[in-house]
Homo-oligomer: 225 residues x 2
Amino acid sequence: MADEPQERPGRSAQRTDVRRLPEKQVRDVAALHAILDEAVVASVGIAVDGQPFVLPMACARDGDHLLLHGSTGSRLMRAIAAGTPICVSVTHLDGLVYARSAFESSMRYRSATVLGVATAVPADERLHALEVLTEHLLPGRWAELRAPHAKELAATSVLRVPLAEWSVKVGAGFGDDPDEDLDEPVWAGMLPMRVTYGDPVDAPDLGPGRPVPGHVTGLPDPGQG
Amino acid sequence: MADEPQERPGRSAQRTDVRRLPEKQVRDVAALHAILDEAVVASVGIAVDGQPFVLPMACARDGDHLLLHGSTGSRLMRAIAAGTPICVSVTHLDGLVYARSAFESSMRYRSATVLGVATAVPADERLHALEVLTEHLLPGRWAELRAPHAKELAATSVLRVPLAEWSVKVGAGFGDDPDEDLDEPVWAGMLPMRVTYGDPVDAPDLGPGRPVPGHVTGLPDPGQG
């Protein structure tokens, strides 16, 4: 577990290097962790006979690994578990950037890329992995749920990929307008974007005496916790 | 342009087929368009020598094509423009689903996958493509901006991929708890998620007499327009 900010000029200096706009690259592992910890879904890329596929998968960081959760039996999940190289991508959009020209207009974002090979979490660690995933996606929920049945654990496929080869790219600030555009008669600035939670909705088959728990009503919006 | 709802049992019945949970598959092209039109960034997968990469790229639908925008000169952009097969993935998260067990807990989402080969938008159509992208990302902005300079158009790389081979998957509803779990002493339901815009922020170098335009202050949240 390496939650302290640190430089990672190692493997991150290779295939994951940001060759375009390298000033946007961030080498701080705490930034990687923050981006992953704000995500509940990651885009997982895999190539099969040269054809790329990108799958949205539930994700949760467990120390210096990223857990990925999907359905047992999917052919792409099987290919991933068999050791086919993957690329995991997470991007958070933080705002629309209005520059003085279409060309300089852009977005604020934080983006993480992880390259690696995933392995299936072995059966004796699957309960822990399911707890980490559940607590990441639904914080506070694990303690009030019944324990998973053995057949549920057997039917749960969790993969993990080490956070060893990665890059982080951040687009911040405002439009980088050239001097000759600064007098254009238009507003320039940024419109922030964020993900927010609405009001909880009861399941239609919810019985009486089961109020919405505080860990749901009080769940901070993603990235605000 | 095919904005009318219609069945697409053609190529979408092949490589993009949803083999897991096929009841979640949607074959209506209007659903595809709605998912793409709510996105400003897509995850674009490409394989280079068996190694997958996933790139976040700005996107905008132009009829029955999806435009993708990145930096000229990136090696992956060049590979995409050279005809390497790609996979475009867009996922919107609509809520966290609290079932009575960790196993049945899930998310509400709408996800689109497009397989295909991208081509560079030719120079004489690039102004149109830049207008479509700008108006999609910053609705109402194009009319008030100066025209792009020729050198800006030359430095703008826009790709497009036909919306021919695709699939849409939607996770809706609540947890699918088995009968024996319905008496579990826990709340069950759904916590909605959505993307919202905050208050616009002026650029630090904004001159006087340039108020925030109505198309920014009045921009509806994504998916609400």
